[in-house]
Symmetry: C2
Subunit: 133 residues, 2 copies
Amino acid sequence: MQLTLDLDSEVPIYQQIRDRIVEAIADGALAAGAALPSTRQLGMDLAINFHTVNKAYDLLRRQGFIRINRKSGAVVRRDRLSGPPEAGFADEWQSRLRTLLAEAVAQGLSPQEVQQRAGSVLESFATPKGSMT
Amino acid sequence: MQLTLDLDSEVPIYQQIRDRIVEAIADGALAAGAALPSTRQLGMDLAINFHTVNKAYDLLRRQGFIRINRKSGAVVRRDRLSGPPEAGFADEWQSRLRTLLAEAVAQGLSPQEVQQRAGSVLESFATPKGSMT
DNA sequence: GTATCTGTTCTATTATTTGTATAACAGCTA
DNA sequence: TAGCTGTTATACAAATAATAGAACAGATAC
């Protein structure tokens, strides 16, 4: 679970943890069913408070990325990468996509380069990564 | 300057203003050189404090989207949509793009659909909109 | 000139968020 | 039994978000 975060970033730590784990899921580094470290363990590894990790996990759970049981701990949901997304997700997501793409276009990136970069990222998700069972 | 914001959103008001204006620039609704309303005027229209609008404008200025003079007020930069983006922008932007695309893929959207939605958004930017001179 | 609008800056207050900290309880497991 | 775990509760300091009032200076309109 090599997970790097930037303590000087304006992005909250719990948000960074969430983002890195979501990327690891899309990546294939965290396969469906894979177990996440315990909040106390990950807090130790990252040298941060375990409540901050707990907040990130709770966010991932509320957004449907993981399941948390008292037994098995935090586990990547099995019915995610296969089935369709939650209702209403796609629309809300696309509006955020619109904002992000607008930023690049308004900064002078050509639509062609934007599309190419998006394709490059998606390609990096498609190529399977080493999973951590 | 029809600009809708959601006061119940978790996204700060000043950030929403920034986002909507960036989208209007990418959109073509705000052409290069176009003048933005004064902070007091926009604050009146949106029924919010003008300091909040000022914060949004200051953010747009620091990110290079607009120029602010005491004479002409806030104006969309002319040397943006033509020239290349600021140094180091593309890399930082792509890492944010990676996070956003990962979210969609991890939620179950196929890479094909993601790419199609990105294309759809970029297409909406390409088709010229009515500008507000 | 006077009045008005503007950007800019300063201070202040309230509410919320962020991160840390300590403690406790209950369930599982070696 | 002992240890690890998820979970919940409370507390605190720091930063952020939004509002508010006031003041100054430059530009514009009458």
